[in-house]
């Protein structure tokens, strides 16, 4: 049995201590595993991700990455973790090249390794010609590509991806998924939050289905079918069954 890379245990939290958004969440992400985090709008997917990244402080529960917690070892915790946000966060004063250089510098990636990784990534995502462009000239999709490139440049142990397909063209989505699979095969654990259920069903190994901040179902597709009592159902059917009815 593989040891967990990310372990979330009894996590409760949100934007205020008095009104938690997520309640008692427990799940794991193992090396070489892609976990799909799914749920309706407002189910708590982004809040869960913010808690893991340390943007929000949990009310209770524990988050461990490779045995470390953010409080005990913040630098070690973040060193092997990469994040692709739903909204691209860019520095207006940096070119694409400088965004990548800054990321590599922060994570201590030597210049030769940086160059080696950068070239194929830029080629793959059709951004080579735009290497010296500033973000104000980028389309929404290009801005999202900067986020994708920065995360892939790191080749992290754990990759947290929040709705990465928004704004990307079909070819970029294809290359993104191709890269995610490649990283997964190399042992990277991936937590993927998405609404594109067909893609999640095809690429993810296990799922965490959130409903109103609580885990409604979790496990492999087969396990979720059993939990929902829907044999042979697709992820879409399970999702509609579990998350579709208000207040159930």
């Amino acid at each position: 049995m593989r040891v967990s890379l990310l372990e979330v245990k009894g996590l409760t939290g949100g934007y205020s201590n008095r009104q938690p958004v997520i309640h008692d969440l427990s799940f794991t992400v193992k090396p070489g595993e892609m976990v799909g985090l799914i749920g309706l709008n407002g189910a708590g997917k982004s809040t869960t991700i913010k808690q893991i990244l340390g943007f929000l402080r949990p009310t209770s529960g524990e988050i461990r990455f490779n045995g470390r917690t953010l409080e005990n070892d913040p630098t070690g915790f973040r060193k092997q973790l990469a994040y692709i946000p739903e909204t691209p966060y860019l520095y207006p004063e940096l070119t694409l090249r400088e965004h990548l250089e800054l990321t590599a510098m922060a994570y201590g990636i030597p210049e030769e390794v940086q160059r080696e990784r950068m070239e194929p990534l830029l080629e793959r995502f059709h951004m080579k010609k735009r290497i010296d462009w500033y973000p104000d000239t980028f389309s929404k999709g290009m801005r999202q590509k900067v986020m994708v490139l920065s995360a892939f440049l790191l080749e992290p142990s754990l990759l947290i991806v929040d709705e990465p397909f928004v704004g990307l063209d079909p070819l970029a989505i294809h290359h993104l998924l191709e890269r995610l699979v490649k990283l997964k095969h190399r042992g990277t654990g991936i937590l993927l939050s998405t609404h594109v259920l067909a893609t999640a069903e095809k690429y993810c190994d296990t799922f965490v289905l959130l409903k109103e901040g609580r885990i409604a179902l979790k496990g492999t597709l087969e396990e979720m079918r059993r939990q929902a009592g829907l044999s042979d159902a697709s992820l879409n059917d399970i999702f509609i069954h579990a998350a579709g009815e208000e207040g159930t």
Binding site: T75, R78, Y89
Partner: protein, 409 residues
């Protein structure tokens, strides 16, 4: 009144209320400083009028100052990002909205002309002319200012050759102001000036774009710049949450950027360097204050303590702008994700501030002829004082000030 037309008045009132609240907060923290500044200004001005050499070109100085005041014309529209979507369907309403904006801008800019005229009146009355002449000049300058507002409005509706249009307007203002202050009231210059103004106005009207094409992008950029300028001013005294700013690539500094080795210890410095050199401000403030300090050091009496006071004031006023370089990134999620020690955010900012302030003291002092030729070796001690102040401001004073005023550590 149509709803969109009344929207301008609502936004204007809201902006004034907000400005008033900021002014009250600033006034609370300033104590007696404004009174001190006014007294200094009064005595400084009096001294300047008494000491000004007989052959000093006052007319030229007035021409430069008024050309600047006339030409740097801003139109306040209070437009917001959602306006192109929500206001666009009512073109007639928008016409009324922008008419009000132009009337308001004309009133505010005329007030600016009046204030500058009042400020410069002692100089004018001492060296150039009488009260009647000053009154006529003020009236003419006000009319010229209103003309500038109309032309600027037409200019921003045209995408082509903006530089040429701005040059023509600045030139026109310069020539008319020079004629005004050189004492030639009537005759051919006035006729030629009138014809030229008429031709330029007709030229812009002839080539203006169709009414439905509203230059939203330009208007929003201008609005953001104006608001940012107010916020930056307020930010010198109180904590202001959001300050907008433009990015300019400035490729001339690329060589400097490349000298920084790619090491985790330099991560924030890598970013801060680009933040400083590529944002319009505080780089612009740095350049202007370096020039002002150098000019004051060159023009005012070269007494040891007085020169040191000017240098230290210049460094202090520049220094208090610099923590912005770090503060602008405080809501960036990457800033919280980088696997780097927390204190590095502060130390990298201090490293940059030290070199910038040190460079400023060198740039202000090295061209000073008197410091090199002084009977005592004055340049070295004052240079050391400048670098010492740069060290104190960047490593001790500014981090403490930043810590006191915000949650940043």
């Amino acid at each position: 009144m149509r709803p969109i037309e009344s929207l301008f008045l609502e936004r204007m009132k809201h902006a004034w209320k907000k400005g008033g609240r900021y002014a009250a907060l600033i006034a609370k923290g300033l104590h007696f400083l404004p009174i001190f500044l006014l007294i200094s200004l009064y005595f400084g001005y009096k001294w300047l009028l008494a000491e000004l050499p007989e052959d000093f070109p006052v007319s030229l100085l007035l021409t430069v100052l008024f050309t600047w005041t006339l030409s740097s014309t801003r139109i306040r529209t209070y437009v917001q990002k959602a306006d192109p979507v929500f206001l666009f369907p009512d073109l007639d309403g928008l016409k009324g909205y922008f008419r009000r904006s132009l009337i308001y801008s004309a009133a505010m800019q005329s007030l600016k002309i009046w204030l500058v005229t009042v400020f410069l009146s002692p100089l004018y009355l001492t060296r150039v002319g009488e009260v009647a002449g000053l009154g006529s000049a003020w009236a003419l300058l006000t009319l010229l200012k209103i003309w500038n507002i109309g032309i600027v409005w037409l200019e921003i509706h045209r995408e082509d050759r903006r530089g040429v249009h701005a040059f023509l307007r600045w030139g026109t203002n310069g020539l008319i102001t020079w004629w005004l202050f050189s004492g030639q009231w009537f005759g051919w210059p006035l006729v030629i000036g009138g014809i030229w103004l008429g031709w330029l106005t007709l030229h812009h009207i002839r080539f203006r774009s169709p009414r439905h094409l509203i230059p939203w992008e330009t208007l929003m950029r201008w609005e953001e710049r104006t608001v940012s300028a107010y916020y930056r001013l307020a930010n010198q005294f109180i904590d202001v949450p959001h300050i907008g700013n433009d990015v300019t690539p400035r490729p001339v500094f690329s060589l400097l950027f490349r000298r920084l080795p790619s090491r985790p210890e330099n991560t924030y410095l890598f970013l801060y360097l680009r933040t400083f050199f590529r944002y319009r401000e505080p780089f612009g403030v740095f350049v202007r204050l370096t020039l002002v300090t150098a000019v004051l050091l060159a023009c005012l009496p070269a007494a040891g303590w007085f020169s040191a006071f000017i240098l230290l004031t210049g460094l202090y006023v520049t220094g208090i702008q610099l923590p912005w370089i770090r503060r602008i990134h405080r809501y960036q999620p990457w800033f919280r994700l980088y696997p780097l020690p927390e204190k590095q955010k502060r130390t990298d900012c201090s490293r940059l501030a030290f070199w910038l302030l040190g460079a400023q003291s060198s740039l202000a002092l090295l061209p000073q002829y008197w410091a090199w030729n002084s009977p005592l070796p004055f340049l070295l001690p004052i240079l050391l004082l400048g670098w010492g102040a740069a060290w104190f401001l960047s490593w001790i004073y500014l981090p403490r000030r930043l810590h006191k005023r915000s949650s940043l550590r």
